[in-house]
């Protein structure tokens, strides 16, 4: 298999898997889960196999169809996309293990549809990661929105449908109303939309227009949840927790910040953007989102909504790091995508495990739960510490790089934002940890133990990953550094 065909295999594998899951769903749940497992393991094998090719300095690329002259469906593997695809495919396996435990433990309906749509979403995610030009990125981005809609609407009652409508409404209207015009503008100005090292827009646009185009991109990519386009993310929390965990902490939201990062690096070019004063607002809006989302998170009483607002803030970390427009900060942005993924998926897994075991969803109900669910709450603690950025967790590593980039650029706004948000993160996570471990249980709480074994297994794995990333982050940093190689 040449690297070129491997790309196509990686994208179509989850599609084939979706079909297999749908067929296996008619035979029985165990066969169906086996189909999911086989698909995700083979996806990891295929996607991770591309890393070595990439490290040799090759950039395999394949064109599927030239839809119109200059407009083609093409895929290219470059370091940033590789990192994202490897992350999404790896966490899919763990998430599938968790899903089985969660969905069965909760006796959810329509499980076949759930697993089929999950596989479709993964295919779209890999497509986003490997997209070789803006058009392909847009195609996969929209497919991701559509394939995750049934997952958000899974429960099917009136309140869920309303939230799902917000989800679809915000994501589709921003992408059609802002993202698409930005793409068309880029194509008409540059004549191409290929992701090119150094950017394609240099010297083609004048100053105020650059800021405007950047705004169309940043707000058009609603998945990045930069305020005020963030409303869909809390709304999406009505989905079953595995969806929130993998899609709304990793695949979907990271597709958004990944797309913004990729566009800034490969369409605008960081040096070109650095010299354009009209692009500076991005840093401020990201900083604003970080602070405001953290403040809103302080006031949340529902666990998943708190995590959603924390995600909004963490996503803007990536956007802000990218907007610093210095190589070290770009590495930090790439690392933060990974680090936040490990920490946040652990937190969501824990929230779901609590729900399966005790049906608790509110923070004040968690008093003393640490004694009943020690594994889950230990993992939760690790995740929370990683969000704050305490060593020895993953969050520390990426924050270090972002801070280094901010100092390199003498960007005091970024430095201040990082410090302030660290304090805020501590302010909303530490009280929960105290509540969980050191307070007495409420009177009359029902007896329960740990969540189903598969769920606990999955969240333990991701907690270990969160810790391990602090120590063994060499390969990831090497991959992330490839992004900025030749840029500085």
């Amino acid at each position: 298999m040449t690297p070129e065909t491997t790309i196509l295999v990686a994208i179509s594998l989850p599609l084939v898997g979706a079909l297999a899951i749908a067929l296996a769903g008619r035979i029985g749940p165990n066969i169906r889960e086996a189909a999911t497992a086989i698909t995700s393991v083979s996806l990891i094998w295929v996607v991770w196999g591309l890393i070595s090719t990439l490290m040799e300095g090759k950039r395999p690329s394949i064109e599927v169809s030239e839809v119109m002259p200059g407009l083609s469906i093409a895929f290219t593997v470059e370091p940033l996309g590789m990192l994202f695809a490897a992350l999404a495919s790896g966490l899919w396996l763990i998430n599938s293990i968790y899903s089985v435990g969660y969905m069965r433990g909760n006796k959810e309906k329509n499980q076949t549809r759930f697993f089929v749509c999950f596989a479709l979403a993964l295919s779209a995610t890999v497509g986003v990661a490997f997209a070789g030009n803006l058009f392909t990125l847009f195609l996969c981005y929209e497919l991701l929105t559509l394939s995750t809609y049934p997952l958000v609407a899974h429960k099917g009652d009136a309140a869920t449908i309303r939230s799902a409508r917000i989800y679809l409404g915000v994501l589709l209207s921003t992408s059609i109303g802002l993202f698409l015009p930005a793409i068309i503008w880029t194509y008409t100005v540059a004549g191409t939309g290929d992701f090119t090292v150094g950017g394609i827009l240099a010297g083609k646009l004048n100053d105020p227009e650059i800021g405007l185009l950047l705004a169309l991109f940043v707000f058009g990519i609603g998945k990045a949840a930069v305020m005020p386009m963030h409303k869909w993310l809390p709304a999406a929390m009505v989905a079953p927790t595995p969806v929130s965990a993998l899609l709304h902490a990793v695949a979907v939201v990271k597709s958004g910040v990944f797309a913004i990062t990729k566009i800034i690096i490969y369409i605008f070019g960081i040096e070109y953007l650095f010299e354009s004063p009209s692009s500076e607002w991005l840093l401020y809006i990201a900083a604003f989102t970080i602070i405001v989302a953290s403040l809103v998170a302080l006031r949340q009483t529902n666990i998943k909504r708190l995590l959603a607002y924390s995600t909004i803030a963490q996503l803007s970390y990536v956007v802000m790091a990218t907007a610093i427009l210095k190589p070290l900060a770009e590495v930090g942005a790439a690392l933060h995508m990974v680090a936040h993924a490990f920490g946040k998926i652990t937190l969501f897994f824990a929230a779901g495990a609590i729900y399966v075991a005790s049906k608790k969803t509110e923070i004040h109900q968690l008093r003393g739960i640490g004694r009943r669910m020690p594994w889950t709450m230990a993992a939760f603690t690790i995740g929370a510490l990683s969000m704050i950025g305490v060593p020895p967790t993953a969050g520390f590593v990426s924050k270090w790089y972002i801070l280094a980039g901010a100092f390199e650029a003498n960007n005091l706004v970024a430095v201040f934002t990082i410090i302030a948000s660290t304090l805020l993160n501590a302010a909303y996570f530490l009280p929960i940890l105290y509540l969980v471990w050191f307070e007495q249980e409420n009177e009359g709480d029902k007896e329960h133990g740990e969540a189903p074994f598969l769920a606990v297994l999955a969240l333990t794995l991701t907690a270990i990953l969160t810790l391990a990333f602090f120590l063994f982050n060499g390969p990831v940093i090497e991959l992330a550094s490839q992004v900025v190689k030749g840029l500085s």
């Binding site: 599927v64 169809s65 030239e66 839809v67 119109m68 407009l71 469906i73 058009f135 847009f138 195609l139 929209e142 497919l143 559509l146 049934p150 609407a153 099917g156 449908i161 409508r165 679809l168 409404g169 589709l172 209207s173 059609i176 109303g177 698409l180 015009p181 068309i184 008409t188």
Partner: protein
């Protein structure tokens, strides 16, 4: 002469002569089989003609060997090829799927007459497209219109009768206007052959009758094409017609009138009248914009599934007209592509509606709850075609919308505003399509109502195939795009 040379004539003659034969096929099922076979042959001829004109050349044909100004002339060029594909393709797809639906809606002794009328519509529509003569266009227009009144009124729904009466009135006014315009042109040039008219109009000194003719022809055809605000006959006619007739007519009937409109305006009036482009743009663009916005808004509030889709059709006609009104290569390409892609999307949607209607007696949205659980394939096909109608990337609808946006940007200083209108109306399409999807997938079923099983396999296969074509032509639109490009180039050749 080999067979290929006679194809333009056979395209019209085969369905026309088969129609009376079909009437005689009384035994149950035979009439359907006969009509479907004829439709398939017509479609094959259209494909063969398309391949013959793929290089951008037009085929000319003289009936009975009589040369052009005296005999009946036919011609096929890339633009007509697109429309021929749409007409014969829609007819074939609808007929292939039709049997269970028609058996349910029309009693068996009247079926042979029904299928005969169907073939007359088919023959009339393709006749309009291949004619190179203004009067023959009128004749074929009448054949197709009269036969389509029968088709629409032929179902069990008595509300179709007032609907068809309205259609008949409006259609006759349109046809009469057209005929008045053609008469004026004949008065000034002494010929009915389109190519001749184009030649001789240049020598006409008194231009006023020609201007009046242009007005009559444009308005008359706009009526037939359901251009906003001349569209009032469409919603009821589509809603109350037998479901398979809606599939056929929604995909192609109004587009054929629009085809003649474009042809006349570009090849005759713009080629000979000074500043006609400007007048045409000023006439067409506001109507197109109003049609897009108002019809989309109406579609958002229609409670009946078929009416909702019919309103959307009026908005889609607006898109086609908008591209035409730019009088540019990019605009015409976009319009020609949208004719093709919209036929795919809307044809597929109405096929899925026909599948639903096979199981549901009432097609109001609040009655359709829970359809997806019982009819998963139908609903999946509906979603795919709906996405194509919205213009989601990866579907055929996106291609034409992209082209339309690009052409709007190139059209002048107001391009940005036009792009905004197109995008806003796309969002409106999201709303009106998604309301249906929610009803199908998430609404609670009405007590005691609802299907027990999927639609017949025959209908499902065709519907699914059309849905897949929507995806295929979204990823590989090269062939229709090439045709649309040559069509645009041919149309612009005449203009000054």
């Amino acid at each position: 002469m080999d067979l290929l040379a006679h194809l333009p004539a056979l395209q019209v003659v085969i369905p026309m002569l088969s129609a009376p034969l079909i009437v005689m096929l009384q035994p149950r099922g035979l009439a359907w089989a006969g009509a479907t076979a004829v439709a398939l042959v017509s479609f094959s001829i259209a494909v063969a003609l398309t391949l013959a004109v793929l290089d951008g050349q037009a085929l000319q044909y003289a009936m009975g060997g009589w040369p052009a100004p005296y005999g009946i002339a036919l011609s096929v060029d890339p633009f007509s090829a697109i429309i021929l594909l749409v007409i014969t393709g829609a007819s074939t797809a609808a007929l292939l799927a039709a049997k269970p639906s028609i058996d349910q809606q029309i009693e068996s002794e009247r079926q042979p007459l029904f299928y005969a009328a169907w073939l007359l519509v088919l023959s009339g529509l393709v006749g309009i497209v291949v004619s190179a003569d203004a009067f023959n266009i009128f004749v074929f227009m009448e054949i197709s219109s009269l036969a389509s009144y029968i088709l629409i009124a032929g179902g069990p729904d008595r509300r179709a009768l007032p609907a068809v009466f309205k259609y008949l009135m409006m259609g006759t006014i349109g046809a009469t206007f057209y005929l008045i315009g053609v008469g004026l042109i004949y008065m000034m040039t002494g010929t009915l052959n389109l190519a001749d008219i184009q030649d001789r109009l240049g020598d006409v000194t008194d231009i006023n009758p020609v201007l009046v003719a242009a007005g009559f022809i444009t308005i008359g055809l706009a009526l037939k094409a359901a251009v906003f605000p001349l569209h009032v006959w469409v919603p009821n006619a589509y809603t109350h017609a037998p479901h398979m007739v809606t599939v056929f007519l929604s995909a192609c009937a109004t587009k054929v009138a629009l085809y003649v409109l474009i042809r006349f305006d570009y090849m005759i009036f713009q080629a000979t009248l000074e500043d006609h482009q400007v007048q045409f743009a000023l006439f067409a663009m506001p109507l197109a914009i109003l049609g897009i916005l108002i019809a989309s808004a109406v579609a958002m509030f229609e409670g009946h599934l078929k009416r909702r889709l019919a309103s959307s059709s009026i908005a889609q006609i607006g898109y086609i007209l908008l591209g035409v009104s730019f009088v540019s290569m990019a605009g015409l390409t976009a319009s020609a592509m949208h004719m093709f892609n919209h036929a795919l999307a809307k044809g597929g949607l109405f096929l899925a509606v026909a599948c639903l209607a096979y199981q549901y007696r009432d097609l109001r949205l609040d009655q359709l709850g829970g359809a997806a659980a019982r009819m998963p394939w139908t609903c999946a096909a509906f979603v795919v075609c709906g996405l194509s109608l919205i213009g989601v990337p990866g579907t055929a609808g996106f291609i034409s919308k992209w082209l339309l946006i690009i052409s709007a940007l190139e059209s002048g200083p107001w391009g940005g505003g036009l792009v905004a209108i197109i995008l806003v109306s796309s969002l409106m399409a999201v709303v009106y399509v998604w309301r249906i999807v929610e009803a199908l997938y998430f609404q609670a079923p009405v007590e005691g109502e609802g299907p027990t099983s999927e639609a017949p396999i025959q209908m499902l296969l065709v519907t699914g195939f059309i849905a897949l074509l929507n995806i295929y032509f979204g990823l590989f639109p090269q062939v229709p795009l090439e045709l649309a490009n040559s069509a645009a180039a041919l149309l612009l050749e005449g203009t000054n």
